[in-house]
């Protein structure tokens, strides 16, 4: 059994909208293990993004325990949570969210600068882009890139600091199937070659087909947790 990176136990998350309380998560349990290529699926409002926010130390649970790399996030200060995100977590967003005034290379380099990397950061960022076959795009700004290219650069930014866990919120939602598949292959490659773990929230059947595990949420609870044969997709493509 692989190491447990994320342990979510009986987690509840309530939102207050005016006088109404919305129970986004209602006693949710989940373990994310090292090497997972995990797709969290479910209808809108089922709690997918809320769960990613909690695992990503962007929000705190109303009840229960969220442990990431063995640390109970509710005990961490705002600064410690920021440090955890910077050093151990990577984020990929649906809308890419690259910094528009920085080039592709600078977007990747920026995360390394935030970490305090010195003069070697440019070379490190370039090597990440090269590894992901994005080197020729390094000097382009986001508005000079296609959606698929932007999302691949966003992945490069997410993995530049070699995080152990990458959280991706609907990463293929704005991509056509060809770009989506290229992105997923790239992320699978990163998982395999760098021991990274990926957690996606998605509606996309393509993402589910690539996932090694699919967790389905409904009304803030896990209703199914399906472990798949990780090579199934490759077999299907090969055939």
């Amino acid at each position: 059994m692989n190491e447990v990176l994320v342990d979510v136990r009986d987690v509840r998350k309530d939102f207050h909208v005016g006088k109404i309380t919305v129970n986004a998560l209602r006693g949710l349990d989940l373990e994310v293990r090292k090497g997972d290529f995990l797709a969290i699926v479910g209808p809108s409002g089922s709690g997918k993004t809320t769960l990613l926010n909690l695992i990503g130390a962007l929000d705190v649970a109303t009840g229960g325990v969220v442990s990431v790399f063995g640390q109970d996030l509710s005990t961490l200060s705002r600064r410690r949570r920021a440090h955890l995100r910077l050093t151990s977590l990577g984020f990929v967003f649906q809308a890419y969210n690259l910094v528009p005034v920085l080039t592709a290379l600078e977007n990747v380099e920026f995360v390394l600068e935030l970490q305090g990397a010195g003069s070697e950061r440019r070379e490190a960022a370039m090597s990440v882009l090269d590894e992901l076959s994005l080197g020729e795009l390094s000097g382009r700004r986001p508005n000079e890139l296609s959606g698929g290219q932007q999302q691949r650069v966003a992945v490069a930014r997410a993995v530049a600091a070699k995080p152990r866990l990458v959280l991706a919120d609907e990463p293929t939602a704005n991509l056509d199937s060809e770009n989506a598949e290229a992105l997923l292959r790239m992320m699978r490659g990163l998982r395999d070659e760098h021991d990274m773990t990926f957690v996606f929230s998605t509606h996309d059947p393509l993402v589910m087909s690539y996932a090694s595990r699919v967790v389905t949420l409904r009304d803030g609870r896990v209703i199914s947790d399906e472990q798949k044969n990780s090579d199934a997709h490759e077999h299907r493509r090969a055939n």
Binding site: N53, L58, H83, L86, F91, Q94, A95, L102, L114
Partner: protein, 413 residues
């Protein structure tokens, strides 16, 4: 050296909304320009005030007998005025020094009489130090060899209905308290154009003053400095070397009204500049906050990526610094022609002052000049940067309160 990306980020952000950046920079620039212009005028008028006071016979510093400041008694004399004069002239930073003696006098010609404060002078040094006596309209100024001669103001001459070479009857109170009389020949008439001043001029040589009053020597040594800005330092040095029985006064102590006016002028101009800066800061803060609101999602993403509070505030303030620098440059570009014009051509206040250019017996220059100098550059950057940093406080605080979950939960088409 590699430029930090945070700096590139800040600089390039200026180009996102060029119109807003331009207007903000112009806003800061106008604020800077107004503050620079006001400061230049204050400095220029302040310098002019000090210069004309010093050149109107008051000097920058004065050595007087102990107790003169309190009593203003013109019969007091320095114990050893020649030694004090030598000390003053030998001090570094003193351009010139001259002795004076004063007494109250009554001038008469026929049935006409005029009362005034008569001044005993050393003609050689007085002519060099006193701009008023250089405004001789008739005759000449006193010479060291003159005896029983006087130079009077044109208003005195008008009141007495006298002309050059007429003899005036002078009445003064002597040393023993008795009235002393003498005849003085008018060798020169001064016309400054200001009645107050021309009605108070009556100069005689120091020797004549001593002969008339029976009080030997000088009642004051008046000093002009090379650097008027070094007034307090020079006063302090002079105090340490003058003899006992004498004290050193600055022009501000001799003319407290003028000194107070100078300080209140500066305070008023600083207040006006401050108000302008506050208005600019409030305007720019609004624009900055709008910019932060527009970038809320982007900043949320940066927070999500792990940007720490200090780095986020640093980015906002770095952007403010860039804007402040641009604003300072704009301020210099706007203010320099104005300051240059007023520094070279000046502002003629003749109409405003109605032709009367004297205050407390000081002949003021009707044309006001501003002071133009390298000081404008640091001032522009100081105002630009401080304004923008102040304007950045609230937007930075707002940025810190951005919820990073919005980076994930905000959907974008």
């Amino acid at each position: 050296m590699r430029v930090p990306l945070l700096a590139k980020f800040a600089v390039r952000t200026m180009g996102r909304n060029v119109r807003r950046t331009f207007l903000s920079v112009i806003g800061v620039g106008v604020g800077c320009a107004i503050a620079i212009f006001m400061t230049a005028l204050t400095m220029g008028s302040g310098e002019m005030r000090v210069r004309v006071i010093a050149e109107s016979g008051y000097g920058h510093l004065r050595i007087v007998p102990d107790g003169w400041e309190r009593t203003r008694d013109n019969d007091l004399r320095l114990t050893d005025w020649r030694a004090e004069l030598g000390t003053a002239r030998s001090m570094e930073g003193v351009r010139s020094a001259t002795p004076h003696a004063r007494t109250t006098a009554l001038l008469a010609f026929g049935t006409r009489v005029a009362g005034l404060e008569m001044l005993g002078v050393d003609p050689e040094t007085e002519f060099a130090m006193n701009r008023i006596v250089r405004m001789i309209s008739e005759g000449r100024y006193l010479e060291p060899s003159d005896r029983d001669a006087t130079v009077i103001g044109s208003t005195v001459a008008d009141r007495l209905d006298v002309e050059l070479d007429d003899d005036l009857l002078l009445t003064v109170v002597g040393k023993s308290g008795e009235m002393e009389y003498a005849m003085l020949r008018i060798v020169g008439i001064v016309n400054t154009g200001v009645k107050d001043i021309d009605g108070a001029i009556c100069h005689v040589t120091l020797d004549d003053m001593a002969g008339l009053t029976g009080l030997e020597g000088a009642g004051e040594i008046t000093l002009m400095l090379d650097e008027p800005d070094a007034l307090e330092h020079a006063a302090s040095r002079l105090r340490s070397i003058v003899q006992g029985g004498s004290e050193v006064l600055t022009w501000k102590e001799i003319l407290p009204d003028q000194g107070g006016d100078s300080e209140s002028d500066k305070a008023f101009m600083n207040l006006l500049s401050g108000i302008v800066v506050v208005v600019v800061v409030l305007g720019i803060a609004g624009a900055q906050l709008t910019a932060i609101l527009e970038r809320r999602r982007e900043l949320a993403v940066l927070i999500a990526l792990g940007m720490k509070d200090g780095q986020l505030v640093g980015l906002i303030f770095l952007e403010a610094v860039v804007m402040g620098v641009l604003g300072a440059v704009a301020g210099l570009l706007i203010s320099t022609p104005l300051v240059r014009y007023t520094a070279t051509t000046g502002i003629d206040l003749t109409r405003l002052m109605g032709g009367d250019f004297s205050v407390s017996g000081v002949l003021l220059d009707p044309v006001m000049y501003s002071d133009m100098g390298p000081w404008m550059i640091p001032l522009a950057f100081l105002i630009g940067l401080v304004s923008m940093l102040l304007a950045g406080i609230y937007p930075a605080w707002f940025a810190l309160r951005i919820d990073p979950t919005s980076a994930l939960s905000l959907r974008e088409a």
